[in-house]
Amino acid sequence: MTKELEHKFVTDLEQHQNIIHKVCKLYTNNQDAHNDLFQEISIQLWRAYPKFRGEAKFSTWMYRVALNTAITLYRKSKRTVQTQDFDSVLFKIQATEYDDTEEEQLRLLYKAIRQLSDIEKALVFLYLEDKNYKEIAETMGITEVNARVKMNRVKTKLQKILNP
């Protein structure tokens, strides 16, 4: 691969790196794991770059590769599960002490999201990124109806976690 191609890729990556950081934020629970997943997504993006023909926007393509890496290609997930178990124990204690401040609500929401499955996290991520159902379906490779059903299921599950 030529130097120019690499330069162009890294420039685009630098500009859109927030997308990867946000995926890492949802799929990991500590800084080490975050950096590790960030690295793997960047490597996968670079490998897939020659086949990126600009049919989609660079950012749209990044969503796809980043989610593929987090859901399917990345294998080191044990660390996350252990931290997650710890978090969910902590969460149960905290949830009983009802606190209505916005900050507390957000903290509990983030904790609840960490308890979701890989696929559910992907759906929440795309929802938070303001993607409509058509775009969510397109990015994940499922039908729009399926995307709606799944998103509703996630919302119900989150409600159940937050109000057991």
């Binding site: 990556l13 950081h21 994940m140 709606r148 919302k155």
Partner: protein
């Protein structure tokens, strides 16, 4: 859901707080070693395809063939080898084509499907090999047990059924061990992927609300 909207608002605010890598840091990052599952799928699948054949390196083909001819199954073994290698090359070709289709560019559903398809080809290959073990063993044992050379070594009035039972038990155990070994590798590689794939593909029966 109000809470998710609250989260969405916060999500956007948090963008400013996200870490930022410099151009140079990113340039170095992309050349580091990948720990992707695809590399392992490739390495393990190639080992699974090649390993059964390493055994043949230790077999003296001419002497074995001479032995099979004496047992009267020379033609069967030759025919078997021809068909066996045609099938093996077909599997290697299919594996190569499937492996090529695994790309991070695909949609998540397609990527999962392609990885599962690649592993399914290897699974069928393993099943084929597992089926061949008892088939060939029984043909060879049957001819051996009928040969005069073998019968002359047995004590008089020896019950052949005992030898058959022991032989079949040994064949079953070897086949089962190979199968267990394969299931273990398959499980280690694909458990997480299969769980995610099934979840992505499942169609909920829930009533559509808030759509």
């Amino acid at each position: 859901m109000d809470q998710l909207d609250l989260l969405k608002k916060d999500w956007k605010k948090q963008e400013e707080a996200l870490p930022k890598y410099s151009f140079d840091e990113l340039s170095q990052l992309i050349h580091k070693k990948s720990s992707s599952i695809v590399k392992w799928i490739f390495i393990i699948s190639v080992l699974e395809l090649v390993l059964p054949h390493l055994v043949y390196l230790f077999v003296d083909y001419d002497t074995s063939m001479q032995h099979y001819k004496e047992l009267g199954i020379g033609n069967f073994i030759t025919g078997f080898y021809i068909i066996f290698y045609i099938v093996i090359f077909y599997f290697i070709f299919r594996f190569y084509k499937n492996y090529q289709s695994i790309s991070a560019n695909s949609k998540p559903k397609e990527l999962m499907q392609n990885i599962i398809k690649t592993r399914r080809t290897v699974k069928h290959y393993i099943w084929f090999n597992l089926a061949m073990v008892p088939l060939v063993s029984i043909v060879i044992l049957h001819s051996t047990f009928k040969s005069e050379e073998f019968l002359n070594q047995l004590p008089e009035n020896f019950n052949m059924a005992i030898i058959w039972v022991i032989s079949i038990v040994v064949i079953v155990i070897i086949t089962l061990l190979l199968w267990l070994f394969y299931r273990l590798i398959y499980g280690i590689l694909l458990n997480k992927l299969k769980r995610n794939y099934n979840e992505l593909m499942s169609n909920g029966n829930e009533v559509l609300q808030n759509v």
